[in-house]
């Protein structure tokens, strides 16, 4: 049925994307920080199956570039080709910081380059940066959402269950902060942290800061559910059987928050991805040379880049497709949650 199509398909695509991004080192032909200073702003490399003489090659090939002296103007030199090689050795990388390797899925031998999405002003391969940047952007969204939801679940259920002062305090503060402009607050929070930190520190702190933005809404929703669930007759009945409050919470009340938590996750994750991208775009996120989709897009603020080098916007377009998946997922989850027996 179509409901599972709008649920399973986007979920599968997202899982695949995250998997690919984790294996960025393997799939990307180059290290994201490697600069090819003699090839700034190279357009996406074309891959050919037919060479200039019309011969067919099973193994695709690329042409080498030759520069005609002007900055970032290239011409394909059809006399010099390089075959596309697979499973070759290249820059070393680590997967999840644990597993080290130097095997790459594809690449070409020097002096040829294969820039699938072109290169940036420093001659860095955009495709490689996109994959590595995805690690930062996608996972900071994910982890920040995890933080937000965990916090929201904890505080919301405490407030809903115990009521009283805790509840009133929660409601008042979340209500007050809901009206405030989040991006201003985000920037301010970021401002009060040191500007120059190690990439790992920046990453974790960014997650913490971004995660602070949205826990309020989740907390309120959880609180509402807990409030209504704890009055239900089956909770009363279970108490009559001698159940402890903790049992009631665990078996009867909290399971009902599952739907809301999942829907909120599908809504918050893309918002947080955008928050990280915005911060990085403004230069307040992860610092160069670490790649993030945000700092990849920030080059576009220069008019020359914006008008002359169209491939620089490709990360943005790919970003939109990711957000679209999350959106479809969120829509279908909302429908499912509405129709659940709870």
């Amino acid at each position: 049925m179509s409901l599972s199509r709008t649920f399973v398909v986007p979920l599968a695509v997202l899982l695949l994307l995250h998997f690919v991004v984790v294996l960025a080192g393997f799939i990307a032909p180059y290290d994201p920080a490697t600069q090819f200073r003699d090839h700034p702003f190279a357009p996406p490399t074309r891959i050919h199956f037919f060479d200039s003489r019309g011969g067919f090659h099973l193994r695709p090939l690329v042409y080498l570039w030759k520069s005609n002296g002007e900055f970032a103007k290239y011409e394909a030199d059809t006399t010099r080709t390089a075959p596309l090689r697979f499973f070759l050795s290249g820059d070393t990388y680590s997967v999840l910081g644990v597993f080290h390797s130097s095997l790459h899925l594809f690449g070409v031998d020097e002096p040829a380059h294969v820039f699938i999405l072109g290169s940036d002003g420093y001659g860095r391969d955009q495709f490689s940066r996109f994959l590595f940047g995805g690690q930062i952007s996608l996972f900071s969204g994910l982890l920040a959402a995890g933080l937000s939801l965990g916090l929201g679940l904890l505080l919301g259920s405490a407030a809903g269950y115990h009521g009283g002062l805790l509840d009133a305090l929660l409601m008042r503060t979340t209500e007050a902060f809901a009206a405030l402009p989040w991006l201003y607050l985000l920037l301010a929070l970021r401002a009060f942290l040191p500007l120059h930190m190690s990439p790992a520190q920046t990453f974790l702190l960014l997650i913490a800061v971004i995660g602070m933005l949205g826990w309020g809404r989740a907390a309120r929703l959880v609180r509402g559910i807990v409030l209504s669930a704890k009055e239900r007759n089956y909770v009363v009945a279970a108490r009559g059987f001698g159940a402890t409050e903790w049992y009631l919470l665990r078996r009867h009340v909290l399971p009902q928050t599952r739907g809301v938590i999942l829907t909120q996750a599908a809504i918050l994750i893309p918002q947080y991805i955008l928050a990280e991208i915005t911060l990085s775009f403004l230069g307040l996120g992860v610092a160069e040379p670490v790649a993030s989709w945000g700092n990849m897009l920030s080059a576009l603020q220069q008019y020359s880049v914006l008008t002359s080098y169209w491939w620089m916007i490709l990360p943005g377009l790919l970003l939109v497709t990711v957000l679209l998946r999350y959106y479809i997922l969120a829509q279908s989850l909302e429908l499912r949650v509405e129709s659940s027996p709870y």
Binding site: Y234, A238, G240, F241, G242, Y247, Y342
Partner: protein
């Protein structure tokens, strides 16, 4: 066996109703209510909404603490016991609530609902709990294939039976039933009534039945107590209370009930 299983003396329950503007009013839900039930007997408490019947039921099964008075179960005053010593008594009396669809967690499967008290009390292994649950389900007339069903796939009558099965699983001596017939078809009501009678015979259960349907009370009870505004205004055997009511209030209730009954509600039904 005319041993008194449950005796309630001068039970009073006062609620403080806190209004938002700061004014607090007192609601006297129970006013010095006294009653007694002998083992194996059925006492029906009837009255309109707000008469305090549900509050009485909840106080007796220790879901709420009375403001004053005594509740004696098999000779022991429960109101004097602390939580730990109260525990064994809690399993000896069980509450079957009204509105079974809200009394059952919609995420639990049939047998899980019935097995829950065992799980909470941690008695027996998981398989033992399940088989006991299935046994109780059988006892109340629910077929085994309903055991895996979720509540929203069960009918009102089946849900009520499930609630009864759940109450039976700990082998209680006293069942307090709060409006078990509300919301059910008349024919289903008759089935449940017959089930309750059968269970009582088999297990010499004692019932405290809280209902607002006089005819049902008359059919099931050995004694009827009429409640109004938190007090028992009349009590006696069914024939007496229903045929020759002493109090004005009882008379009015009976007249209304007779009117409903005469519109042709049938109490015979089949499964």
């Amino acid at each position: 066996m005319d041993e008194t299983l449950l005796q309630v003396c001068e039970l009073t329950k006062v609620y403080a109703d806190r209004r938002p503007a700061g004014r607090t009013t007192e609601v006297r839900a129970l006013r010095e209510v006294s009653l007694a039930i002998a083992r194996g007997r059925t006492l029906a408490v009837i009255g309109e909404s707000g008469s305090g019947k549900s509050t009485l039921a909840r106080c007796i099964v220790q879901l709420e603490a009375p403001t004053s008075g005594q509740i004696c179960f098999a000779g022991t005053d429960l109101t004097r016991l602390d939580k730990r010593r109260l525990q064994p008594f809690r399993t000896r009396m069980q509450l079957v609530l009204q509105g079974s669809s809200a009394a059952i967690n919609p995420g639990f499967r049939g047998w899980e609902v019935v097995a829950e008290p065992l799980r909470i009390q941690k008695s027996g292994s998981a398989e033992e709990q399940r088989s006991t649950a299935l046994q109780c389900m059988q006892q109340v007339g629910l077929q085994a294939d309903l055991a895996e069903r979720l509540p929203h796939r069960l009918s009102g009558g089946q849900l009520q039976r499930l609630a009864i099965a759940r109450a039976l699983v700990l082998n209680p001596e006293l069942l307090v039933l709060d409006e078990p017939f509300t919301g059910l078809d008349v024919s289903i009501q008759a089935q449940i009534a017959n089930l309750l009678l059968a269970l009582q015979r088999e297990g010499s259960l004692t019932y405290l039945l809280v209902v607002h349907d006089l005819m049902m009370a008359g059919a099931l009870a050995d004694e009827i107590a009429v409640m109004q505004d938190g007090q028992i205004v009349e009590r006696g055997i069914p024939a007496g209370v229903l045929m020759t009511p002493q109090q004005e209030y009882t008379r009015s209730l009976v007249t209304v009930a007779r009117g409903v009954a005469s519109t042709g509600a049938s109490t015979t039904g089949s499964l």
